[in-house]
């Protein structure tokens, strides 16, 4: 009798173990690899003094993203292909976020290209801090760079959570 009761329990435990052992993150694009992938992004604020961009993420490990942040002047050189060039479309200041082992998914890349176009073709370009966004790949097979072009000198803060990163840009008070 005991054996009859125990058998289904043992089978359930075995099946659950197989499920959890084989469970993988299905939220990633296999072709991209990397340890982290940016799935999508959205501008949650873009006023004269403040802009906020949220990047939605998926990770293959518990490692944090830890991008390096640089604030460049508008006429500083930025990555384009394997070289660095001057890019007049970004604005007076450029925030350069460099990621390693991180790739942007196809949907996120298309979204960013569309966002770049929308920002540049907008009729009213006043009353906004963020001018343009761009993706670039320095000549290193583990690196990716996101550029945020802004009209005024910014202060940059990063808020990082397990499934997103928020880039917060405040107009610097002089």
């Amino acid at each position: 009798m005991k054996k009859i009761i125990m058998l289904p329990i043992v089978i359930c435990v075995a099946l659950a173990s197989i499920y959890f052992i084989n469970a993988t993150n299905t939220d990633f694009e296999k072709d991209l690899g990397g340890k982290h992938q940016i799935k999508s992004h959205k501008i949650t604020n873009n006023s004269e003094d403040y802009a906020e961009i949220q990047l939605d993420l998926t990770h293959s490990s518990k490692d944090k993203l830890k991008p390096t942040i640089k604030v460049l002047k508008g006429d500083d050189l930025v990555y384009f292909g394997e070289k660095k060039v001057k890019d007049d479309t970004l604005g007076n200041y450029i925030i350069e976020l460099t990621f390693t082992d991180t790739w942007i998914q196809k949907n996120g890349k298309n979204q960013m290209e569309k966002l770049s176009k929308d920002l540049q073709t907008a009729e009213d370009k006043s009353n906004r801090l963020l001018n343009n966004v761009k993706i670039a790949y320095p000549p290193d097979d583990a690196m990716m760079v996101l550029y945020f072009g802004v009209s005024e000198e910014p202060e940059v803060n990063i808020e990082e959570d397990s499934d997103y990163i928020k880039v917060k840009l405040n107009k610097k008070i002089k």
Binding site: N25, G33, G81, D101, Y137, P139, D141, M143
Partner: protein
């Protein structure tokens, strides 16, 4: 009397120091590469007809061979599959990353074939700040991300790494410390935990046996 003793002692110390320096210098100068034959390297035309987008800058003299993995799991030993995989990487680098060509100078597949990437006289696009050095990539993911599982270094691919490193070390008269992992220069998992130890513990030791005392 005291002065004489002190002078003798100082002379002795000076002689010992000179001997040690001479030994060190001679040990450094007395090693060089024995002749190393060029391994079979498949031509670029065996996997692509796509030329670089532009005339690439010359690489000049490098110091290191820098090892990478592609980060995409690949285990096939078929030549056709490897050729298709390398072409996929070239297209990804040129179309998605907007680079001028595939990033690496040499590619090694799990069956131990060595393939020509971009010309090794030209700058690479594999390690930011160190692209004047030769970049060698192994097809596969040797870190194991997204729960897919990692590749392991095969005997054939290891032998290919040894023969290619020996040949390039000999050809370019590189110093013994010339084999490096990508993550020696950047905060990255590349070339993956299953590859890293091979490069330092085994490959570097193996290469030192190819040096001779003059």
């Amino acid at each position: 009397m005291l002065n004489k003793k002190l002078t003798k002692k100082m002379l002795l110390v000076f002689c010992i120091v000179c001997t040690l320096v001479a030994l060190e210098v001679s040990a450094f100068a007395a090693t060089s590469w024995q002749y190393q034959p060029k391994p079979t390297i498949l031509s670029r035309s065996s996997w692509t007809t796509r030329a670089p987008k532009t005339v690439l800058d010359n690489r000049g003299a490098g110091t290191y061979l820098i090892f990478h993995h592609t980060g995409w799991k690949f285990s096939s030993t078929s030549q056709a599959d490897a050729a298709a995989e390398i072409k996929k990487i070239q297209d990804y680098h040129m179309d998605n990353k907007n680079w001028d060509d595939i990033a690496y100078h040499y590619i090694i597949d799990p069956a131990g074939r060595i393939w020509t990437g971009r010309a090794d006289t030209k700058m690479g696009a594999h390690t930011s700040g160190y692209n004047n050095n030769i970049g060698i990539v192994n097809l596969g993911d040797y870190e194991g991300v997204w729960g897919i599982g990692a590749n392991s270094v095969t005997t054939a691919s290891y032998n290919a790494m040894v023969s290619l490193s020996r040949y390039l070390g000999y050809r370019d008269s590189l110093d013994l410390t010339f084999v490096k992992n990508h993550n020696d220069f950047a905060d990255t998992a590349c070339p993956g935990r299953n590859m890293e130890a091979w490069i330092y513990d085994s490959l570097a030791g193996n290469l030192s046996q190819s040096m001779k005392k003059n």
